[in-house]
């Protein structure tokens, strides 16, 4: 971590960057917050540990509007989001100094089944432990690092940064499960079972919009769901149709652009596995148009925004995963 601070200080002091976008020490080890640091002095609060899951790419949309360059720390999977935002001309590559920071899997305090968590040892970076020691108001417990990892880390996209100016720190590929296993399991359900599954998950939605607001692919200046002229109930699930409509429209809108960064599921206060919608689209795109990962290449044509004569016929697309599962 010290290496990151030292480098950030040097870049600030040389005037190469005007500000640093990183993570700030919270009240506990497990609640660091995304933060802009304007001075070397402010960096005393900088932190980088296993709980710095927040993807900072989206904040770079705002940073692009500021004077001068912003130094940003991107983990390997965050870098996919940045490339995708470059492709969509929503961030300014020239105004970003990107340090590709190492990552050995990010943690979620919600995955630790303990009450009254006060402190967690072993969640540092680069020195993380295989087993976390958790001090609570009610005694000490342990949990394996893997079990406390965010869902997205179990389907890690790898150690490589898709974009960066320099790299600091080692990464680990933490993938230990099949990215599409859950989607395949849902595809195998009967229509009634599928409906019941999504009904039970989506009926928990409180329409807080955290999934949308954190999503790097949701970068519209004005969301249709925020329009006062759009005749929907917007802030409330007045009808059961309404809550499904919000999530399904959102999933369609980010299809082909979603890098599967997993922020939607990380932030959902109700623990709705929103990534499953996006992953279904990714799986279908892969099977219909060939393997494609959004955020790898800012220049490449995306399957849903380019036409080739070999494209699947609309009837096949409409059937989606049913025929291409």
């Amino acid at each position: 971590m010290q290496e990151l601070i030292t480098r950030a200080k040097a870049l600030l002091e040389s005037g190469e960057v005007q500000r640093v976008l990183g993570w700030k020490q919270g009240e506990h080890i497990y609640d660091p917050e995304p933060a802009f640091f304007d001075s070397a002095e402010a960096l005393k609060d900088f932190v980088y540990n296993g709980f710095c899951g927040a993807n900072l790419s989206k904040y770079m949309i705002e940073a692009a509007k500021l004077e001068g360059k912003t130094l940003v720390f991107l983990k390997p999977c965050d870098s996919y989001s940045f490339v995708q935002l470059m492709k969509e001309h929503r961030v300014d590559r020239e105004k970003a100094h990107i340090i590709g920071v190492g990552c050995k899997g990010k943690l979620s305090v919600n995955k630790i089944d303990a009450d009254g968590i006060l402190d967690i040892q072993g969640a540092g970076y680069p020195d993380c432990a295989d087993t976390l020691t958790v001090d609570t108001l009610y005694g000490q417990t342990t949990v394996s690092y893997k079990d406390a990892m965010l869902e997205r880390c179990h389907v890690c996209k790898g150690k490589e940064h898709m974009v960066c100016d320099e790299q600091i720190g080692e990464s680990a590929d933490t993938a230990d499960s099949d990215r599409f296993a859950q989607v395949a399991a849902i595809e195998a359900m009967s229509p009634e079972e599928k409906f019941a599954f999504f009904q039970s998950e989506l009926s928990k939605c409180i329409r807080c919009n955290a999934c949308r607001n954190v999503c790097p692919a949701c970068s519209c200046r004005k969301c249709v769901f925020d329009s006062t002229k759009f005749d929907s109930t917007q802030k409330a699930n007045t009808t059961s149709f309404e809550e499904k409509m919000f999530h399904i429209i959102r999933a369609f809108h980010v299809a082909g652009r979603c890098t599967d960064c997993g922020e939607c599921s990380r932030v959902c206060p109700q623990g709705i596995p929103l990534h499953l919608f996006n992953r279904k689209f990714i799986k279908d795109i892969n099977s219909l148009y060939g393997e494609y990962q959004a955020g790898v290449d800012a220049q490449a044509k995306a399957p849903l925004t380019s036409f080739t004569q070999e494209d699947a016929e609309p009837s096949i697309v409409a059937e989606g995963g049913l025929t291409h599962a």
Partner: protein, 340 residues
Amino acid sequence: MLKIKTADLPALYERIAQSQDLFLPVRSAGQTDFALWQKDAQVDLDTLKTVKSPKDVFFPQSETLYSCHREDGKLSVTPEELCDKPFVVFGMKACDVQGIAVLDKVFLSEPVDSYYAARRTHGTIVALACGRPETSCFCTVFGIDPAAPEGDVVTWMVDQWLYWDAKTDKGFALTDFLHDLFEPADESTVEQVKTAIRAIVKKLPYADLSLEGWGAQAADTRFDSPIWEQLYKPCLACGTCTFVCPTCQCYDIKDYDTGSGVQRYRCWDSCMYSDFTMMAHGNNRTSQMQRFRQRFMHKLAYFPANNDGVFSCVGCGRCVDKCPSHLNIVKVIKAFGKED
């Protein structure tokens, strides 16, 4: 003081549900929230905090106010019927009960909100003392005792028993209705539990959070502070904090086009949203910093200024647990504390 075996609680739920709607914490798809009791409901009294506060039992996230219907050139207006049946909310924690007291100050003062008032009149609150307070709890900062909640009935879980103490006329009426399910209990057991809870609460990391400088005077002294510019930046402008909060009471009124008329409804709104209080002249708060500041100033300065010093935060800590950016009212309070 009465008691009932926790194993016998399903019989108690069933008895209440025979004559009234019963709302209590129910686990569904991995999360616990207050919901209407049904026979197959997975009642969860172990989870300390439901994701949402139980405020929507009294102030639903969305409710129809009236409907207009056009047929054969005639327009009819049908007002929504007010709640007129008794119901019970079981398992509310001390912070959430105080949350309702805050809502009362808003909705029961003139002009009285008839929809809310009808629910308050018909609702009986069965409070439950906190078993295992969480790291994010700071209710005691606002003078709340999690060991002895307010409520029509107050209950405590001790080993395999639920201790039951009626406090109000509504509480006595409910107790009479259920009387054969209970057996007499010893007060001293509950006193021991209270002492134990209070001992844990003292060890909570936010137990000593200082509210110095907040209250009515903060409206003048803290509104223009440069700290807000720093604090708001990680805010994603979502409504998570607002929607899980037991005291946030702002709502929007909208018309839903039903095809043959209009359903006028109100739904929770969030001061964090860009269209909040957007009016014909478009003069809402124009920056996220202003929206962010509004939420905390409302809870810690404007509300106490208008309500004899009562804060509209009850320290439940849900926003602390749920903010996607790990921003929260504790960090705000502390940031100003450091500055002083």
